[in-house]
Symmetry: none
Subunit: 281 residues, 2 copies
DNA sequence: TATTGACTGAAAAATTATTTCCAATCATGC
DNA sequence: GCATGATTGGAAATAATTTTTCAGTCAATA
């Protein structure tokens, strides 16, 4: 039996620190287990005795047998890609693996719905230095939008994240000029105030890039580019993981295309951040 | 340098038994080297001292370093049966689909590293009405953490999202009581101030649930539960999509388990929200 | 054939890793 | 609240592994 499975089987009877240990081992399986008991102890923040007890608990004679087995698995595993492949489809179907699988499927959908062409076009837009970029999302999706503006800010200047409170919007709208960009994330339960914002921005000549779901937010009307992403998870709630993946893809592509600039900027950034570091440990 | 190459480079100055040894190691590389010096000695038909001398000769400090290096090589090399596979054909599907596929792969890893058991346990903890839940994340990951607190707030009372500014933390810490929960998301570039927060919370008797990457944030020391999620995207930047998926899975599970309560709460919530809606369209 | 020097492995020593024991702590049930 | 039992990590004991020492062997050479 695989060590991994032994751990999962024993999951029910593990003590708190043993669970920490299990997490540490599984998080970089099997390599995390291929160090001395002391190093593993330090890494997992538990004591060596706890590890010793743990390996006994999962039915092994001792730490050494544990390691020998891990190495044997590694050796085996590399030989039979078939087995590995089987592992990728856990039919056992716990809630988590089930959910993840669904999300995974949705992610595939998103890459199908967005053409590489459009993707490249949007990257180019967002990377254009002379266009300032304004970013905002809906009540929930703003946190996704935040990741875009955060990373974008590391790569270029002129990136602004609009606050949720529309009282402050005029300040940003006044600054917007012809050719600037407004990146909006708006998923169902579309917010009327975002629509108003986009209308105004559009009137001012800003290009709007909209990330939305398949029902298409009314903002689509003003958008120069619409990035459709699937948000149905097959459950009662929506999933934003595909949306996040697309945003991360954008950010990564832009960063790679402008690598030197980005690196320089991050370096300068970090240098400044150090000066007001909170609590040096 | 790879051990293999070190051996080949040294081939000229090897003694007869060292050559036997080299052959034994290379014949089942790198697994043959991953046993005790005595087993390897027996297998290669030489004495342990010869092995010791050998590893020194090829420029390593000792047998242990030799093994550590072999494992590191293995990890590096196998790090990406997937990644490498993709790197070979990055153009095929285009940047986006390539990126999405990688992310997808990572998501599968996360469901392998988190046991269903642990998942269920954490859901139970977060759903316990009498424990208040405090949520916070790192500079970037806080936006992921936000989605947890946001949705959790829809399902139960006593959910607080700590502000990024640590000036305000004491207020929350004062409120924390024995048995309360602190859910922390902390990915690499771990923030010292979060560690301090967790230490204090832990001292106050709060249970800490930590979502982190495989390098394990130092907060693991105080954590009752550690949720490891993969964040490597195979590019220069990390991806939080798997983390988000896990959080969404948590939220969904909790909502489904407490469906009536959640529905009633959302209904009441929406009723209140309508009264101060910003701009009716 | 004797001498030299390199090579080797047995045994001892040193080091390192692992396990056991135990006291302190923590949580739990009464 | 108090007692009980489980859990935990430090320290000691144990075990294992690795390295060093050293004497014997062998081959090459004079």
């Amino acid at each position: 039996m695989l060590i991994k499975d032994r751990i999962k089987d024993a999951a029910g009877i593990l003590t708190p620190s043993e669970r920490k240990l299990a997490a540490a081992i599984l998080s970089d399986y099997p390599y995390a287990g291929l160090v001395s008991i002391q190093d593993l102890a330090k890494h997992a923040e538990v004591s060596p005795p706890s590890i010793s007890r743990f390996v006994t608990k999962i039915g092994l004679a001792g730490y050494q047998e544990f390691q020998r087995d891990l190495i044997a698995e590694l050796k085996e595993g590399q030989r039979s890609p078939v087995d590995l492949h089987m592992e990728n489809r856990p039919i056992e179907g716990g809630f988590l693996s089930d959910f993840i699988q669904r999300t995974t499927r949705q992610m595939a959908v998103s890459s199908a719905a967005i053409t590489e062409d459009q993707f490249a076009r949007i990257c180019t837009l967002l990377a254009t230095p002379k266009s300032e970029v304004h970013v905002i999302g809906g009540r929930v999706s703003d946190s996704i939008a935040f990741l875009l503006s955060f990373h974008l800010r590391q790569m270029r200047q002129g990136v602004y994240h609009l606050p949720a409170n529309n009282e402050a919007w005029p300040e940003y709208l006044l600054r917007m000029k012809q050719g600037d960009l407004l990146f909006v994330v708006d998923f169902r339960r579309y917010q009327p105030n975002l629509l108003g914002l986009c209308q105004t921005a559009h009137d001012k000549g800003a290009k709007i890039i909209l990330m939305t779901d398949k029902w298409l937010s009314p903002i689509a009307k003003y958008a120069a580019e619409v990035l459709p992403v699937p948000i149905e998870s097959g459950t009662l709630w929506d999933t934003y993981a595909p949306a996040l993946a697309v945003i991360e893809a954008l950010v990564t592509k832009i960063a790679e295309d402008n690598f030197d600039q980005t690196r320089a900027r991050i370096k300068a950034w970090d240098a400044l951040r150090l000066t007001d570091q909170d609590v040096p440990s």
